[in-house]
């Protein structure tokens, strides 16, 4: 239990630092902007309670917002993402089959499941993020393009990170 909290805290710090110090300056003409920090919410353990998940997602988003000067924007997107995560995991994973608090990671769940999972959640996060950032329905096509390109960017970064810390576990 203590190990889980420690590893998640370190992951949180690393991801937030990467996001606000490195990835904030990277982007393709404002069209494709990566938000790697959502990986933290993506790989929280299966066993986490809903309220704790929402709380963590909300405060992760809020932390990013403090650095991005967009109070509430990332928090809203992360909250939606947490909700989609709960639905998605309820639909696709039987919880009984697991022991010792596994995490939804590439090495554990398999490539196909993970890429689908990452894509859906990232898309939901980016959809809320960019539509609320734009906050009007004009230029909706442009916003949609931004959402799709950013989703591709973020998902590829997530996959790269996951492959870098790939650990095949015997189930």
């Amino acid at each position: 239990m203590g190990r889980v909290i420690l590893s998640n805290s370190i992951r949180f710090l690393l991801l937030v630092a990467t996001q606000v110090f490195l990835l904030k300056n990277i982007g393709y003409y404002n069209l494709s902007v990566p938000y790697l920090y959502i990986l933290f919410i993506l790989v929280l353990p299966f066993g986490i309670s809903n309220s704790l998940l929402f709380l963590l997602a909300f405060f992760t988003g809020l932390t990013i917002d403090f650095y991005y000067d967009s109070l509430g924007l990332n928090a809203a997107a992360c909250t939606i993402m947490a909700f989609v995560r709960i639905i998605f995991i309820n639909l696709t994973v039987q919880r009984d089959g697991f022991d010792n608090e596994p995490e939804p990671r590439l090495g554990i769940m398999g490539f196909q499941w993970f890429i689908f999972y990452a894509f859906i959640l990232t898309f939901c996060h980016h959809f809320i993020l960019f539509t609320f950032e734009n906050f009007k329905f004009s230029e909706f096509g442009y916003t949609l393009l931004r959402i799709l390109l950013s989703t591709l960017f973020t998902v590829s970064l997530i996959l790269i990170t996951e492959f870098a810390f790939f650990q095949k576990k015997a189930r």
């Binding site: 929402f54 709380l55 909300f58 809020l62 509430g72 809203a76 947490a82 909700f83």
Partner: protein, 275 residues
């Protein structure tokens, strides 16, 4: 109460979503000037639009009242027009310091019965002898002449419309005077004919036709404009086709003209007949 807690516990994800999402949105709108401006603007727009719609409906419902008041105001204004007065300059020195004395007064009336498709058309208006209407008065609309009062009772009057074979109005085109008739081989309520104009006069298409000083209407009241001319068969005069200004089929408000001096004029002319 227990069931409620159970329900909330069962779907806690959804309720947590609502709670956290609401908090995020409140933060977003409160602390970001762009989003705040958008929210205020769009809500203001929404409110403004809805007020506009309601106002449109309201003004539509009040149209009748508005029409009444506008027509009454028009009548009042016509009473003040210079053409309603006749020059009284002979008496000027002796009696008054004003050179103008009222000759015409206008009474507004609403058309309550109308016809345009008969050979002899009549209109009924909601004014009668109680309102000072009497037989032989002229009736005009905002655009041009309408007809002559034909029968009067206490509250209503009938008008012998211009679209009547017996109605003849003295009209003036380019300074030459003819009589306006309707109903001889022409039953179109939009047109009338002007007769007895000498054929050597040059009357052009588009010339304005107005009432002459011999009619019961104030001199210069609009009638219509010339659309075609042709020489009449058998005599040396022109038949001029006139497009009438007044649209008789949609007539709603008319003004009855009371010539205050007509009684004097008629009694004077009556003496000629006796002698």
């Amino acid at each position: 109460m227990r069931n409620l807690w159970l329900f909330i516990g069962k779907y806690n994800a959804f309720f947590l979503l609502i709670i956290f999402f609401t908090i995020s949105l409140i933060l977003l709108v409160k602390h970001n000037s762009f989003q705040r401006a958008r929210v205020w603007n769009s809500s203001n727009q929404l409110v403004g639009r809805s007020y506009e719609r309601i106002n449109e409906i309201n003004s539509y419902l009040k149209l009748r009242k508005t029409n009444d008041s506008l027509a009454a105001e028009n009548a009042r204004l016509r009473n003040q027009l210079a053409t309603s007065f006749y020059s009284d300059s002979i008496k000027q020195v002796a009696v008054r310091d004003t050179t103008l004395k009222q000759q015409y007064t206008y009474t507004v009336a609403r058309v309550i019965n109308n016809s345009v498709h008969q050979k002899n058309n009549y209109l009924t208006i909601n004014r009668g002898s109680r309102h000072g209407i009497s037989k032989g008065m002229g009736v005009i609309s905002a655009k041009g002449i309408v007809g002559i009062i034909f029968n009067v009772n206490e509250d209503f009057s009938t008008i012998r419309s211009l679209l009547h074979s017996e109605t003849k109005v003295s009209a003036n085109v380019n300074g030459s005077i003819g009589s306006l008739v309707w109903g001889e081989e022409n039953y179109d309520p939009r047109f009338a004919y002007l007769k007895d104009i000498q054929s050597h006069l040059s009357i052009k298409k588009g010339n304005r036709v107005v009432t002459s000083e011999f009619s019961m209407f104030p001199e210069g009241t609009a009638i219509g404009y010339v659309t075609a001319t042709r020489t009449s068969q058998g005599d040396n005069s022109l038949d001029i086709k006139i497009k009438l200004n007044t649209d008789f089929s949609t007539l709603e408000y008319v003004y009855v003209i009371n010539n205050i001096l007509s009684a004097q004029q008629l009694s004077l002319e009556a003496q000629n007949k006796i002698e």
